[in-house]
């Protein structure tokens, strides 16, 4: 299988106020193929979100390398980095917070298109089409983030992420803030989007049941380290590590 994303020995240290360093992500390596859905699972504080932020370059990695389509993006900056964002997008946990509260949803969705030189009218037409693809009518273009429900806002956030047709979509607890039925709808949407577009998902989550329903492969993280890796079925049927077993038990 061809590799889309490859992460090698990625490590992140945070310095605490006491002057000590806290290792949030510790020597993490994995790779993600084209058209693959991989989950990163672990309890809060296990370093999942830090890992996602390092891959999207919102946080600087302390050491290690990140390759996207074999291009080393670990230290990409400025114009280079903005080009990389055309291949990689992220959906955040809190949909409402991920939109500027003073701007309409349409402004947020069209922003990346306008940044790439598209005219405003065209970008808004495209935004309308994207919203439709994500199951929302065009009336949502002119709504403000606090005027729509969490599920609707997350659909708009997915539309925004899809706008520049990324190859990799990182979903950072993208369904955690939504209630059960809406979670299901969003996952169904992501599944059908993957059929239509050639995308890979990195699905960061703490809910084992969701992962089982949605992902091909998973890695389990604890205290910044990968403790177990494999296909979803394999890990869930035959967990090897004590921590994975504990996660399983907490579900049942």
């Amino acid at each position: 299988m061809r590799t889309l994303l490859r992460v090698e020995h990625l490590t992140k240290d945070f310095s605490t106020h006491g002057g000590e360093t806290y290792r949030a992500v510790d020597d993490v390596s994995f790779s993600l193929g084209f058209h693959e859905k991989m989950a990163v699972i672990g309890e809060s504080g296990s370093g999942k979100t830090t890992l996602a932020r390092m891959i999207t370059r919102l946080t600087e990695a302390t050491s290690g390398q990140i390759f996207l389509e074999e291009e080393n993006i670990t230290r990409a900056k400025g114009h280079n980095l903005r080009n990389i964002y055309q291949k990689m997008q992220m959906v955040f946990q809190m949909p409402v917070d991920s939109f500027d509260s003073r701007r309409r949803l349409g402004d947020g969705i069209a922003e990346s298109l306008i940044n790439r030189g598209m005219k405003k009218a065209e970008a808004w037409e495209e935004a309308e089409r994207l919203l439709g693809e994500c199951g929302l009518g065009k009336e949502f273009l002119t709504r403000y983030p606090h005027e729509v429900s969490g599920g609707q806002c997350q659909r708009a956030a997915i539309a925004r992420a899809l706008a520049i047709q990324p190859k990799l979509l990182i979903l950072d607890e993208a369904t955690s803030a939504l209630d059960m039925t809406v979670q299901k709808e969003i996952l169904g949407l992501l599944d059908s989007l993957q059929e239509d577009r050639d995308m890979s998902y990195l699905f960061i989550c703490h809910d084992l049941a969701l992962v089982q329903a949605f992902c091909d492969r998973m890695i389990v993280m604890q205290k910044g380290k990968i403790v177990e890796e494999g296909t979803t079925d394999q890990v869930i049927r035959h967990p090897k590590h004590a921590y994975t077993k504990m996660l399983m038990d907490s579900v049942l």
Partner: protein
Amino acid sequence: MKKSRKQRNIVKFRLVVFASLAGLLILFSLFSDKLCPMDPYLQDLSNAKAAPSFVHPLGTDRYGRDMLSRIIVGSKTSIFSTLLLVTFISVFGSMIGLICGWFENTIDVILMRIADMFLAFPGLVFALAVAAVLGGGLQNAIIALAAISWPKYARLARSQTLTQKKATYIKAARLAGDSDWKLIVRHILPNIMGPILVTAVLDIGTMMMELAGLSFLGLGAKPPIAEWGSMMSETRNLLTTQPWVTLSPGIAIFISVVIFNLFGEAVRDWLDPKNGRS
């Protein structure tokens, strides 16, 4: 809790009323040259210290100049220097604060320590010292007051920027391909404007008083320029014999400060997120 529609309407009504009053005051001072009934600088010693009459509704000062005309003309000096001052300090201070908050580097440390230095002195005393060193004059009084008041805006803009830049929507906008410049102009600035605007409008009254204060002490507008603070100062020993010449510029200051303060409070209430306005 969101306010009811009725409360929101009251807030809006107050805003409209005080904005119009403040606007009228500014318009009035803008056309003050044309509005005053007599030449405010024409001396008529035979008619000095006259009591209010039909010809001189507010009397005349010790040189026989018509007080009403002087107060009308003085509004231009007082109000426009204050507006100039507040605009300058709020724009300049906020820019400094925005840069400091956004980059959070050595420049931030240096600029903020400089701001601390300015804040360490008691405000008006420091302004007095600056004005005394620079010499009197309206322009120097404005410089002196600007020197003591910009750090307030720098600190406010900095703390607002620090909060906003950590927000998720900034991360999302970065992923949408916004450069630092676009992030600041499109997202940070509109989101930090509210509190800065409120502070600036509420500052108009304070600055008007401080400017008049410096003029009263002889460090602001110089005679014969009509300015309310210096007019009070010139005539203060007439307070017991001809009180109207001292009191009328004082009342003019009082009315203007009250109007601008009420306008500021109305803007604050209107921008209050609890007001339920998007």
